[in-house]
């Protein structure tokens, strides 16, 4: 076994630079941190415009970012070994709370998602977003890869159970994210292409069944997605207005604070799920490309961390967390630009709101932990 000098360099902090030292002490990955800060900063600029120049709203969001970053740093201190030990317990706790939320949960906006813990209201599905990749990675890393059929079946059950509970709330967006988190672990674990092909075919066959199981509003969303012009004042209004916003932005955009679709309220939910349309209208294609580049940088760094991870558990976890982050981005931008159905997924790190921000940053905290808690490989 031989190691390149670079790999060795990573193992031993040789740079005496004080700042670098501080980052190392706090287990922070600088490139990832810079990427995240740039994304959040860009997000705040867009949010200021999307909120109708509401400085208070921007301030609240900035505070949330700071909080989420604190959570990230805290999580980064937890070693991957500890994470691994906690995995089954976190998963069990998440499942218990998902059941609880269906029994006692509070209903908001027609969906039952919240659990009132007395002091804070809490969305168990957010915890599950992290618990599922942790659990599957833990389970698969126990034995040799690629997993046996038996283990695969059990892993599939471990994924499907929370997904069904979340879909029943109903929260389609989160269900998609949790499912993809689990599936990415399976994919990265190296399940055979035959199986992937078979599952794809099976998924196609299952589509009618899923259709049957969907709530009316979800079916409506799919139908509206297929032909938004059919109901321009009702269900299709969101997509039509958002496409107008994006399209009218052109290459250079209408300028910050000058998006007529956004500023004149034509764009619904413009500071939350549809903030990407505000960005596209005001900053144009150039703004979109800058945003996508920042995302790609963060995703690239995540994937790099995954490939550099030292064991199967951390590799699978890091890869899955990174790819879920991309799913967030793709589902949201795909929805806002009319490529995908309208499912309530915010634009990660940019949309207004705190819950998913904390979950995401906790995920990045894990990535940093994986990258910075290095031990010498067993010899």
């Amino acid at each position: 076994m031989s190691y390149s000098p670079r790999q060795l360099g990573d193992l031993t902090p040789t740079n005496p630079n004080r700042r670098q030292g501080l980052l190392a002490v706090f287990h922070i990955d600088l490139p990832l941190l810079v990427g995240l800060l740039l994304l959040c900063g860009f997000g705040l600029i867009v949010l200021y415009s999307a909120s109708g120049e509401n400085f208070g709203q921007m301030e609240r969001q900035a505070l949330r970012i700071v909080l989420a970053l604190a959570v990230m740093v805290a999580v980064a201190q937890v070693s991957p070994a500890t994470l691994r030990r906690w995995s089954p317990w976190l998963y069990a706790a998440g499942m218990a709370m998902l059941v609880a939320v269906l029994v006692f949960g509070e209903v908001g906006k027609g969906a039952q998602r919240w659990l009132d813990l007395g002091i804070v209201r809490f969305q168990p599905s957010e915890l599950v977003k992290l618990a599922v990749p942790l659990m599957i990675a833990w389970y698969l890393a126990e034995k040799r890869l690629p997993p046996s059929w038996q283990r695969l079946a059990i892993a599939a059950v471990l994924i499907v159970a929370p997904v069904l509970l979340i879909a029943k709330q109903p929260d389609l967006g989160t269900a998609v994210l949790v499912a993809s988190a689990g599936i990415f672990v399976l994919f990265l674990a190296g399940i055979s292409w035959q199986l992937i092909g078979g599952l794809t075919v099976a998924a196609g066959a299952a589509a009618p069944v899923v259709w049957y199981l969907m709530r009316d509003y979800q079916r409506q969303r799919v139908l509206t997605f297929l032909d938004p012009e059919k109901d321009p004042l009702g269900a299709g209004y969101h997509i039509i207005q958002s496409k107008i916003a994006i399209g009218s932005g052109g290459v250079y955009g209408k300028g910050w604070l000058n998006g007529t679709q956004s500023q004149l309220d034509f764009l619904p939910e413009r500071h939350t799920d549809f903030i990407f349309a505000v960005l596209s209208e005001e900053f144009g294609l150039i703004g979109v490309l800058i945003l996508l580049s920042l995302f790609l940088f963060v995703i690239g760094r995540g994937l790099y961390i995954a490939t550099r991870a030292q064991d199967t558990f951390t590799r699978l976890l890091a890869g899955s967390l990174t790819l879920v982050f991309f799913v967030y981005l793709f589902v949201n931008t795909g929805m806002v630009s009319g490529l995908l159905p309208v499912v309530g997924v915010p634009l990660p790190l940019v949309s207004y709101g705190g819950t998913s921000l904390v979950t995401l940053m906790a995920g990045f905290g894990m990535l940093m932990s994986i990258h910075t808690h290095r031990r010498l490989l067993p010899t």
Partner: protein
């Protein structure tokens, strides 16, 4: 775990991670392509949609022109009025909102009735008035509760108001909400922001001038359709102001002079045809119609026996009775049937040759020997029976039509009646009967089929006063633009009634003068020392007295009594004003109608000086 396994797993993971990375790249490229599609390829399409979204063109309604009387008294103005309007689209439960609203502000059954009626005609996003003419208190009261009523708003608009209400109705008419029928006749885009239109009277005739031209405003609106800012503006062109010949003081005097009587009075300036007074009694309050009259109020007006909605001065058709006698006399002189001093013996009746039917004079005992002057002064029927007989219906029709009888005068008011100047041809057409000679006699004293409007009588009288120059009566003197200061006079138009002998005018006028000035004149009671009046009384039968029966005013029901008529001009030597008065069921022209004419002429000729009483 074996190191070999670890490396193999690491390698397998790297493969999958690379594939995942490639998939991510592919998905991002797909997304970028989508953006290129939207932001470059379809950019123009979406720019148009975005513009259509935010830009609305709103009409700016022009301010309606004002109407003044000859002395500059304001007769029609625009008052700010506040109304409570509901936008149905923005209200979830209309019934509940209305119920709740009526607790805050008074909403009557009539208001509701009008609301539902208007609502049917309007689009869902147009607001519909539920209450009009809110008082200051009501406006304030609603403002307090406004947050509870989404979709309900107070709207301010300029609303037409007629400060002299009943006194001006039959001349000015009124404006009302634009109806479906109006829409077919107007340039809809010019009325895009206008809610009211002239329904009759001057308001209707001069609608296009009063209305002005609509302005346009391009505004940016938000998703709720509320205006955010103005992008471009073409200001509206205000309607021009209208100045009438009408004298509101004269109008008031005339109406007062009528007392409880129904009828009409028209006063004309003989020198230009300008209408000085135009009264139809009773009138009604035009302000009721501006915001839409309630069914109850409308029915009350409609069912009123005195028919206040009926414009008697313009549309009332009355037998002119003896007031045609000066015209008849002139016809006789002109066509050579009589000389000024030809005399006729009046035994109290007239018989056609070879016929025993007696055409009775109003004076049973007869007037004795009569020349034209005496026949006019004493209103001898027999003299004019004979004259009519000698002229024949064709000549009568031909001559009298020159004075405007039987046709519209062409006044600048809509809905004028033609009256009826009978002819053989007319009778054949309308009655499918030949003309009988007896009918010529009746026509000669202004009875039978002969019908004239008060306006026609006034215009014809003015022509006599004016030596045969017949001015088309008109209400409006000039228009003036507030914006440009430009004044547009309405030039009088006239035709001259040709005569063979100018002196004939003088002879007839002499007779009319004596109607007042002579001790035997039928209108001697209005004689006065300040100025001389020339005129002619008339009595029009409503009820035909049987051949040998007595007409007894006292015993007849009022509505069957004769109409009293009077035509006059003054001063006799330099006519400034010509008047025609019809008092329905008033009895004798001299006693009832003439004093009204006198009051009008006094007020016109001596506006600052109250009448000293009768000069007799």
């Amino acid at each position: 775990m074996l190191l070999k396994d670890t490396i193999r797993e690491s390698q397998a993971f790297l493969n999958r991670a690379i594939i995942a990375g490639l998939l991510v790249l592919a998905a991002v490229l797909m997304l970028v392509w989508r953006m290129v599609q939207l932001q470059i390829i379809d950019h123009e399409h979406f720019t148009t949609l975005s513009r259509e979204n935010r830009v609305k063109v709103l009409p700016l309604p022009p301010t309606r022109g004002l109407i003044y009387d000859r002395k500059g008294v304001l007769l029609a103005q625009n008052r700010p009025a506040y109304s409570l309007e509901i936008t149905p689209e923005q209200v979830e439960n209309l019934d509940a909102t209305l119920a709740e609203l009526s607790k805050v502000i008074e909403v009557g059954d009539e208001d509701l009735e009008r609301f539902w009626q208007l609502k049917k005609r309007r689009r869902r996003f147009d607001s519909v008035p539920i209450r009009v003419n809110l008082s200051q208190d009501e406006t304030a009261q609603f403002a307090v509760h406004r947050h509870r009523f989404p979709g309900v708003d107070i709207k301010a608009q300029l609303l037409r108001h007629y400060p002299h209400d009943v006194k001006t109705t039959h001349v000015l008419g009124y404006v009302g909400r634009i109806s479906q029928r109006d829409l077919e006749q107007i340039d809809v885009s010019n009325y895009a922001g206008t809610s009211h239109i002239g329904k009759n009277g001057v308001e209707k005739t001069y609608e296009s001038a009063l209305h002005g031209a609509v302005g346009l405003e391009q505004v940016e609106v938000n998703a709720a359709g509320r205006k955010v800012r103005t992008l471009e503006q073409t200001p509206p062109e205000s309607g021009v102001d209208i100045h009438l010949h009408l004298d509101i003081a004269l109008q008031e005097v005339a109406m007062k002079a009528f007392g409880d009587n129904n009828g009409a009075a028209v006063a004309i300036n003989p020198k230009n045809g300008g209408i000085l007074a135009f009264v139809s009694q009773p009138g009604y309050d035009p302000n009721l119609f501006v915001e839409g009259i309630s069914t109850k109020n409308y029915d009350a007006l409609q069912d009123d026996e005195s028919r206040p909605l009926y414009n008697r001065a313009l549309r009332g058709q009355y037998p002119p009775g003896s007031t045609v006698k000066p015209f008849m006399g002139l016809a006789g002189l002109e066509r050579g049937a009589i000389q000024f001093d030809s005399s006729v013996y009046c035994p109290g009746f007239f018989q056609l040759p070879g016929n025993t039917h007696r055409y009775r004079d109003w004076k049973k005992t007869g007037h004795g020997t009569m020349d034209l002057d005496a026949a006019i002064v004493q209103s001898c029927d027999v003299f004019f029976y004979k004259l009519a007989y000698e002229l024949g219906v064709d000549q009568l029709n031909d001559f009298l039509s020159q004075f405007g009888f039987g046709g519209r005068t062409g006044i600048d008011l809509t809905g004028e009646s033609t009256g009826l100047l009978p002819s053989r041809e007319w009778k054949r057409r309308a009655k499918r009967q030949p003309w009988y000679p007896g009918e010529t006699l009746i026509m000669g004293i202004g009875q039978g089929y002969f019908l004239a409007t008060p306006l026609q009588l006034a215009a014809a009288t003015a022509a006599i006063a004016n030596n045969g120059t017949f001015y088309t009566p008109h209400v409006v003197d000039h228009l003036s633009s507030r914006e440009s200061g430009e004044v547009t006079p309405i030039p009088p138009s006239a035709h001259v009634i040709p005569v063979a002998r100018e002196q004939n005018w003088e002879d007839v006028r002499q007779g009319m003068l004596h109607v007042i000035e002579s001790p035997r004149g039928t209108a001697k009671r209005i004689r006065n020392d300040r100025y001389k009046i020339a005129g002619k009384t008339g009595t029009a039968q409503v009820f035909t007295v049987a051949q040998d029966a007595e007409y007894d005013e006292e015993t007849l029901e009022k509505k069957l009594r004769d109409h009293a008529l009077f035509i006059a001009y003054a001063p006799a030597d330099d006519p400034q004003i010509a008047v025609a008065v019809v008092v329905e069921n008033g009895g004798h022209g001299g006693s009832v109608a003439a004093p009204i004419a006198r009051a009008i002429m006094d007020a016109y000729l001596y506006p600052d000086d109250p009448p000293p009483g009768d000069g007799t």
